[in-house]
Each structure stands twice: as structure tokens, then as C-alpha cells.
């Protein structure tokens, strides 16, 4: 056989193999590229949904009220589908088609969560008589799938120990609600409050509204905000005015004091629709509230937080100190019974330690306490169970082809979800080549009015020229400046009050202001910890008065008393003043 023939035979054999291989590899490359692009789109859409939720809740004065919150969440879902639909318009024909691949979206809020998913609405407009008087509108035979929010689910867990039979609702911070019989002879009862270590609270002076918490004195504080208001003069012309006003929170609403009010007998106002709305009949109530506090026009929220938490924590420590993980009832109704079974069920081993007995070794304010670990495990279990069921139920709607199951959510995402307001979105069953796409995105948010977590407050410090700078509590620059006396701590406020607020005068004209700005002075973020965002010490270190450097090259320990006092006061005040619907 000639060489030419060999070459032809070689090409005849190799060419088809090479072409098939090339096509297969190209197909695999396309699959992975598509998968990466879907993940990117899902992340972006979830981020947009979170941003929409953030903007809506921050600018909605009634966002804490259930109906209003549902509206905000539904708007967020719409944003999610709009964003995902635009990004994926090449692959899917409509948003409706896209929604078939999204089995569930989880909205994780302060004391519970919503699952946005498809469900069979068996409600029928036709009434069906059952028995003599009962009329129901339910028909099992109806198939009417709808995408909507399922009922709100609390982060709850049931415990039973002897006569004690209780359910505890957890939250994203140290607030809990206890329902049931705690065995004190009073039968079924409900109590809510913040759980702290009661041993830390000493020298309580109810008259002066002061107490000591873990070495720092908590007392009344003067709070100030900078407002831009629209004033109407005698000619009916509107003009804007900027000023600093002191405020207190009365009945969950900020009441400002205007020392130059037109009527000096009615100096209090609410900030509504960018205008000062002076209190009329309510003035007497506010004055009575201030008089009953006995400390003048100052906020006593921080004191009230620790004082009420002390009472609640003592009660919990008396009646619920023996509650351990082994006393947990499973969602199925079975008793866990042993620590090992509880550890397997909750996926965390609390080693037989009491969950609710607080002490210096179990301080609920710290992220690594037994209480906190158990709290996170309960939230995780609850979400896993209900989300798993919602996604599995989605199979009955999808009609086969792809089996929807909840993917494994990694530990880091669980940590974020159990500590912050967050959204988890799922996208499954979208065909990519020979495979199906199956992924999720978990995104958290710290700028909202749902929860004040340990890192969503900033410490405001004033320098010698009167200008203000805000810091994270663990900022090395702040601690040094306060130690050296070059700056002094002004107060601690929620991160939201450092965000720019917009006053819309007309469609084309807007004005802007910062609530923590001051007239004639500047308020800026620290370049070390806000702009660079690299706080040197952890918040836990500030809370426990034991700051640990992230690197060994930094100096410890340091005197952080002033910053710690402001932080613990501000955090308590902001948490106490946050509107909570179930407390």
C-alpha cells in the first residue's frame, strides 16, 4: 500500500472521530458557559430584588405593618422576575415561562420568613354546605395554581421538659417570645423580651434611668438629627430649611423638639412628608411621658431595653434554665430525647449545655454563645423543612421532566441567612445541553428597617474642630483618637441615618440631606473603617470588652470604655425603638 493511501485511510478514520470529539467538547463548553451565565444572572436578579426591598422598606414609614410588608415583598419579587427576564430574554420567551423554573424564593425577615412559591388555591367562589351551619368554599378537586406568598412562618421551636411545655419564637437577634406552660403554676402564658446575661446588670436606678451593664453605665441620652424641612411662609410660598433637632422616640415614632416653634406651648413635631407637623392634642401626652421619665427631653430607650431585658432574662433563667437541645420536639412531632439525636436533628451539638440559662459563658449578645448557636440551628431547621417541602410540592405543578429538590445550601450561606435579612432564590430545571440547571443564590442586606444587628450601627465621633466622623465600633483609628483625646464620642446611630435622604420638591427638583449631618459642620465616613471598610477589631470584642486583633501585629488590650459605652447604649436604643409587630 502506498503512503498516499495510508494517509487517506488515516484521514478517513481520524476526521470523523475528531469532528465528533470537537462537537462533544464544544457542547460541554457551551453547557458550562451557559451555566456560569445563568448563575451570574440569578445573582444579579436576586441583588436587584434585595435592593428593591431595601429601597421600599427604608422609604416606607409603614413597612413594619404586615400588609405593607407583603406589598414590599411582592414588589421585590416583581423586580426579581423583571431583572431575570431581561437578562435571560435570549433563553426564555416570557416571564411566565421563566417562573416555571423558579420553584421558590425565600424572604428571611426579623422574626420569621415568607416563601414565595406556587400553590394550589382550592378556594372556590361557590359555597358548599357541610352539616347544618357550616359553609366552606374549599374544593379539593379544583386545580388552580397561583404564585404567591405563603403564610408567614415564625422561627419557632417546641420544647418539653416535665410540666414545661413551651414554644419559643426566635428572631435574628437576642429577642425571643415564649408561649406555653413554663411550669410556674400560672398555666399558659406568653412573654417576650430580649435575652441578656442578668448578672451583667447592676446599680439599677429607675428614678435616674441609669444602670450598669457589663462595666459601662447606661443612661439617658440626648439624640440629635439634622432635617431638611419644607416651610410655608405667610405668603404661601414654600421654601426649604435645614436645622438640627433633638428627638425622642415616643410610640415608635420620632418626636422632634423645635426650640423656635411658632407656638412655644406646642414645641413638638413629627417629620411627615418633609414637613414639620406640630403635635396638637398629643402634646400633653408627650409632655406627660417626658415628665414620667423625669430626665428631661432625653431618650431612655437604652435604659428601658436593659431594664426590661433584665426582668425577662431573670424570669427565663428561673423557669427555663434547664431547657437543653434534647428537649426539642421535631417538626414531625417526635421527641429528640437525647443530645446526640438533637445534634443530628439540629445539625449542631450544644454538648448538653442549657440553652436559655445565660451567664458570662453563654452571653446571647455574643455570636458564639450556646444560645446563639441554638438560635441559628432552629432558624436553619425551620427554613430547611418548609423550603424543602415548598420546592418538593412544586413537582406536582411542574408535571414531571425535572424533579425539583432543595439544593444543599453551604454553611457560609446559612450563617448569613440566620443572622441577616436575606433573600434566597432558586432556579432549577432549565435545560442546558444534556443537563438541567440547578442552583441558588443567597443574598443578605444590612440596610433595612427590619433588624438592627450588631454591625448595623455606627459610632459618631466629634473632632476638635467640631466636625463629625462615623466609624465601625471596632475601628482602630477611632479607638486611638478617643484614647488620645483628639476625638470624643458623640453617639451611636443606625447605619440608615448615615444614608442620604431625598426630599422631592417637584418632578425635576430634589434636595438632599443626611440625618446625622450637622449645620455648619461636616459628617463623613472614616477612611479606615467605612470607606476602606476594614474594621480592625470584631464587634464581639467590643461587646465583651476584649478586643482581639485580626493580626498579631496589632496592639491589645486597649481602653475602649467610651466607645463601648456608646456602642452598647446605641445598639440597645436602636433595637428598643425598632417597631416590632409581635412584641
Amino acid at each position: 500500500m502506498k503512503l498516499q493511501h495510508l494517509i487517506i485511510i488515516f484521514i478517513a478514520i481520524i476526521m470523523p472521530i475528531s469532528m465528533v470529539m470537537a462537537s462533544y467538547i464544544q457542547n460541554q463548553i457551551d453547557v458550562i458557559s451557559l451555566q456560569t451565565s445563568y448563575t451570574s444572572n440569578l445573582n444579579t436578579a436576586t441583588y436587584d430584588a434585595m435592593k428593591a426591598f431595601q429601597i421600599n422598606t427604608v422609604n416606607n414609614k409603614y413597612s413594619s405593618i404586615s400588609d405593607s410588608k407583603i406589598r414590599d415583598i411582592e414588589a421585590s419579587v416583581k423586580t426579581f422576575y423583571n431583572s431575570l427576564g431581561t437578562a435571560m430574554s435570549t433563553y426564555v420567551s416570557s416571564q411566565k415561562e421563566l417562573s416555571l423554573f423558579v420553584p421558590a424564593i425565600l424572604f428571611n425577615l426579623y422574626d420569621g420568613y415568607y416563601i414565595y412559591s406556587s400553590y394550589n388555591n382550592t378556594y372556590s367562589p361557590r359555597e358548599v354546605e357541610q352539616g347544618t351551619n357550616i359553609k366552606v368554599n374549599i374544593q379539593d378537586s379544583i386545580v388552580n395554581y397561583q404564585d404567591a406568598l405563603k403564610p408567614f412562618i415564625y422561627y419557632s421551636c417546641k420544647y418539653k421538659l416535665g410540666a414545661k411545655d413551651i414554644v419559643i419564637n426566635y428572631t435574628l437577634d437576642n429577642a425571643i417570645t415564649v408561649y406555653g406552660d413554663v411550669g410556674d403554676g400560672r398555666g399558659y402564658q406568653t412573654r417576650s423580651g430580649y435575652l441578656i446575661n442578668p448578672d451583667y446588670v447592676t446599680n439599677v436606678n429607675v428614678g435616674a434611668k441609669t444602670l450598669n451593664y457589663n462595666g459601662v453605665q447606661i443612661g439617658p441620652e440626648i439624640l440629635t438629627e439634622h432635617l431638611l424641612t419644607i416651610e410655608t411662609d405667610t405668603n404661601g410660598t414654600e421654601h426649604e430649611q435645614e436645622n438640627d433637632y433633638q428627638y425622642i422616640v415616643y410610640k415608635n415614632k420620632k418626636v422632634y423638639l423645635d426650640t423656635h416653634a411658632p407656638d412655644s406651648s406646642k414645641p413638638f413635631f413629627w417629620y411627615d412628608n418633609n414637613k414639620k407637623v406640630y403635635l396638637e392634642s398629643e402634646t400633653a401626652n408627650v409632655q406627660q411621658y417626658i415628665a414620667s421619665n423625669g430626665v428631661g427631653f432625653k431618650s431612655v430607650s437604652a435604659f428601658e431595653y436593659y431594664y426590661e431585658a433584665l426582668d425577662f432574662s431573670r424570669w427565663v433563667n428561673t423557669y427555663l434554665k434547664n431547657i437543653k437541645a434534647q428537649h426539642v420536639y421535631k417538626a414531625s412531632g417526635d421527641f429528640t430525647g437525647s443530645e446526640s439525636a438533637a445534634a443530628e436533628y439540629l445539625k449542631i451539638d450544644t454538648q448538653g449545655k442549657s440553652i436559655l440559662q445565660t451567664s458570662s459563658t453563654n452571653d446571647p449578645m455574643l455570636s458564639d454563645s450556646v444560645f446563639n448557636n441554638h438560635r441559628m440551628a432552629v432558624i436553619r431547621k425551620s427554613i430547611e423543612t418548609n423550603l424543602g417541602a415548598a420546592i418538593a410540592n412544586y413537582n406536582s405543578l411542574s408535571g414531571g421532566g425535572f424533579e425539583f429538590t432543595m439544593p444543599v445550601i453551604n454553611e457560609q450561606d446559612w450563617y448569613k441567612v440566620t443572622n441577616n435579612v436575606s433573600i434566597i432564590s432558586f432556579m432549577q430545571g432549565l435545560p442546558i445541553g444534556q443537563k438541567y440547571y440547578n442552583n441558588y443564590t443567597a443574598l443578605t442586606n444590612t440596610k433595612n428597617e427590619e433588624v438592627i444587628n450588631s454591625q448595623s450601627v455606627y459610632v459618631l465621633a466629634r473632632d476638635s474642630s467640631g466636625n463629625l466622623e462615623y466609624h465601625q465600633p471596632g475601628c482602630s483609628k477611632l479607638l486611638t483618637a478617643v484614647e488620645n483625646g483628639t476625638a470624643h464620642v458623640e453617639g451611636t446611630y443606625t447605619a440608615l441615618s448615615f444614608m442620604r435622604q431625598t426630599v422631592k420638591l417637584s418632578e425635576v427638583a430634589s434636595r438632599y440631606f443626611y440625618p446625622q449631618g450637622r449645620v455648619g459642620k461636616t459628617t463623613t465616613g472614616c477612611y479606615n473603617c467605612i470607606v476602606d471598610s476594614s474594621s480592625d477589631f470584631s464587634v464581639d470584642g467590643v461587646v465583651s470588652n476584649h478586643i482581639e486583633a485580626f493580626s498579631s501585629s496589632q496592639v491589645v488590650p486597649r481602653d475602649i470604655t467610651a466607645v463601648r459605652k456608646s456602642y452598647l447604649t446605641g445598639l440597645a436604643r436602636e433595637r428598643y425603638d425598632l417597631y416590632k409587630s409581635n412584641f
Binding site: L3, Y415, T441, G474
Partner: protein
């Protein structure tokens, strides 16, 4: 004489068709797959930074080992742009009708690596921008063959590259994991 010349030409063509052509095709394919792996790893890395607001030494090392597992050496260029709203805050307070312009401060690869080596992590905030560009520094077989046949050479020629960037969506936590 004529036959001998034909045989030489045929051997030469045969060698190209039977050895060089398949080798080039496979080498190019290998680079395509490497590029895909690098692009996927880069996208995942940047997306994880966007979601967590954090760059850690561990995740950076893991990213580097993922891309070097393709058998090539890489030059990784990272850029973190940190949003500074302070000029805006100052301008707004001075004149309420203006929204000041925001600035971004850049941190480049060497600064990022230094900070990671000292602190072990870089925390980012909502609004910061992170971008990662990676390209190979070694000569892959496909590059060597191509340079040989096409007479192409130069330092800037690279075969495997990946790039991804995005805006950080969450404030990185300074405590916990």
C-alpha cells in the same frame, strides 16, 4: 527523480496531516478547555466576593490553585474600587441642591495581596467594585506550534484568559465566618 520528489512532498504533507495538524487541533482544544475552567473559576470567585463582601486569603489561595490546576502559570490582576461617598456628603451639606460626586479609591493586586497576607481578609462594602483579570504567562503547546508555523511571537501574546467584575452587593461582616 520525479517519483522521489513526489514521495518527499507526500511524506512532508503526511507528517503535517498525521502529526502536526492533530497535535495543533488537540492543543487548541486543550487551551479552550483550560480557558473555560479559568473563566468559570474567575466568575465564581468574583460572584462569591460580590455575595459575601469579603476577600479572604483562603478563598484567594483556593482560586489560584483552581486556575493553576489547568497546568499553566497565570498572572492574576485584581482591582478593588472602594466607594468614597465623603465628597458627596460634604458637598451636599454645603449646598443642598447638589449631589456631590462619589469617588473610587483603587487597590491593585500587590496591595491586595499585601493586605491579605497581613490581615488575612479584606472587607468590602455595598457599592464597591471588584474585578479580576487573569491570563497565562507560560507558552502552551498550541502557542508554541502557532508561533512556529505562523511566525508570530511577542510577550503580549496569551492564549488563556478570564475576566469578570461586578458591584459588591452586601456589607462584609467583620465578625463570624
Amino acid at each position: 527523480m520525479g517519483d522521489t520528489l513526489t514521495i518527499i512532498v507526500v511524506i512532508f504533507l503526511g507528517a503535517i496531516l498525521m502529526f502536526v495538524f492533530p497535535l495543533m487541533t488537540i492543543a487548541e482544544r486543550t487551551d479552550d478547555i483550560s480557558e473555560l475552567a479559568v473563566q468559570t473559576a474567575t466568575t465564581e470567585y468574583v460572584e462569591s466576593i460580590k455575595k459575601t463582601g469579603k476577600i479572604t486569603l483562603d478563598s484567594y489561595d483556593q482560586y489560584l490553585s483552581t486556575i493553576t490546576a489547568t497546568g499553566n502559570s497565570f498572572e492574576v490582576e485584581m482591582l478593588v474600587q472602594q466607594l468614597d461617598e465623603n465628597p458627596g456628603m460634604k458637598a451636599t451639606q454645603a449646598e443642598t441642591t447638589k449631589i456631590g460626586e462619589n469617588l473610587y479609591y483603587n487597590k491593585y493586586t500587590s496591595q491586595i495581596e499585601d493586605e491579605l497576607n497581613t490581615k488575612g481578609r479584606i472587607t468590602l462594602k455595598e457599592g464597591d467594585i471588584v474585578s479580576v483579570t487573569v491570563r497565562n504567562t507560560n507558552k502552551t503547546i498550541a502557542q508554541i506550534l502557532r508561533n512556529f508555523f505562523y511566525m508570530v511571537s511577542g510577550n503580549d501574546s496569551y492564549q488563556i484568559a478570564g475576566q469578570h467584575s461586578g458591584v459588591v452587593g452586601v456589607n462584609g461582616s467583620t465578625s463570624g465566618i
